[in-house]
């Protein structure tokens, strides 16, 4: 996927450089804080202690940077997910609870702006195919994973349960944008999750 051109003799891996990394980290931070359309290339480079020219030596365009940003956000998200889930192998119910616990925990951090990928869906119009495809693939995987866990629990209407869990998850992400740190309705997610799982494990409900 990535052409092996411009390979430096040693040091940083495959075409990556120090400024590039600094710029990219800065970009991720600014995109998260102000939205994708709310941050210009110039501002990113300056905030990274560099300049626009150096930016364009590392990134083909702003769109390329945004795509990489979204991919990185997804990568981090799944790492976060896997870490939460890994603590309870073979216990899908506790896995789900751990996910929502971790979400609540993360929502209490001041830098949290909900779901970066989901927020991007608001900003990118439908014709920006590459970006919206990234977001769609991510959301579909969230859905698939939650449904799979619901199935693993042996729940009745597992797909429906998985989807309901996704609604609670995304509801938390969405409301987090508006409500300050610990004050939002997101704290109600975990009890609701437990109730729903109970209902889907004991009997038919909807």
């Amino acid at each position: 996927m990535r052409p092996p051109e411009a390979q430096t003799p040693c040091a940083p891996a495959a075409g990556k450089s120090r400024v590039r990394d600094r710029i990219f980290e800065t970009a991720c931070d600014l995109f998260n804080r102000h939205g994708i359309r709310g941050v210009g290339v110039d501002a990113i480079a300056a905030e990274a202690g560099s300049n626009k020219m150096s930016f364009y030596r590392s990134f083909a365009s702003k769109d390329a940077l945004v795509a990489e940003y979204l991919q990185e956000q997804e990568r981090e998200y799944w790492a976060w997910w896997d870490a939460a889930v890994a603590r309870y192998p073979d216990d899908p119910r506790r896995q789900v609870e751990a996910l929502f616990e971790a979400q609540l925990d993360h929502a209490k951090s001041s830098g949290c702006r909900g779901c970066a990928l989901g927020n991007a869906a608001v900003e990118i119009s439908d014709h920006e195919d590459e970006l919206s495809t990234l977001v769609r693939a991510y959301k579909e995987q969230v859905r698939r994973r939650l449904r799979a866990i619901a199935h693993a629990m042996g729940a009745r209407d597992a797909d429906s349960l998985g989807d309901a869990l996704m609604l609670l998850l995304d509801g938390g992400n969405f409301t987090r944008l508006t409500f300050a740190l610990g004050s939002g309705p997101i704290a109600a997610a975990l009890p609701a999750v437990r109730t729903l799982i109970d209902a889907h494990l004991l009997g038919k409900s909807g």
Copy 2:
């Protein structure tokens, strides 16, 4: 709130004109479709069959238009809410179900882009006080209303139930941005709502 200046002798009500209405409707449509930052004043005026100069004769600034847009969206939303709820006076449980039925129904329309106010929260940075205050007030009222209905049901942990309902509602709005018409997880909202209400009416759950 609105100064009574420039009152025309008769015809359209209090300072409003035909172009103004056309421009405003066009703006609402475009904001919904492409986001607030994704639409320029020029594009709005042109799409409305007018021009920028006429725009600025009716609106003090783009920010003023955006504020009015958000207020209008909120007005329409509560009208929609009240209509759904009014069909079942004195039956709070059915009121909630009617809300989620109406949401699902609306989500199936092609123009639906979830929650306009919530989407705006993604685009406006924190320092734009006037706009983010509008969004926050709206979201707080959603929360208050859902909690109130939960209380009216006589539910245990009514606040928690109300918050959980809000998460499901906003989760539906958020996911609607990504999943096409009827294909998203939003269909799982209503069964989940019923399950949660049942649990909160029968016994303690979480």
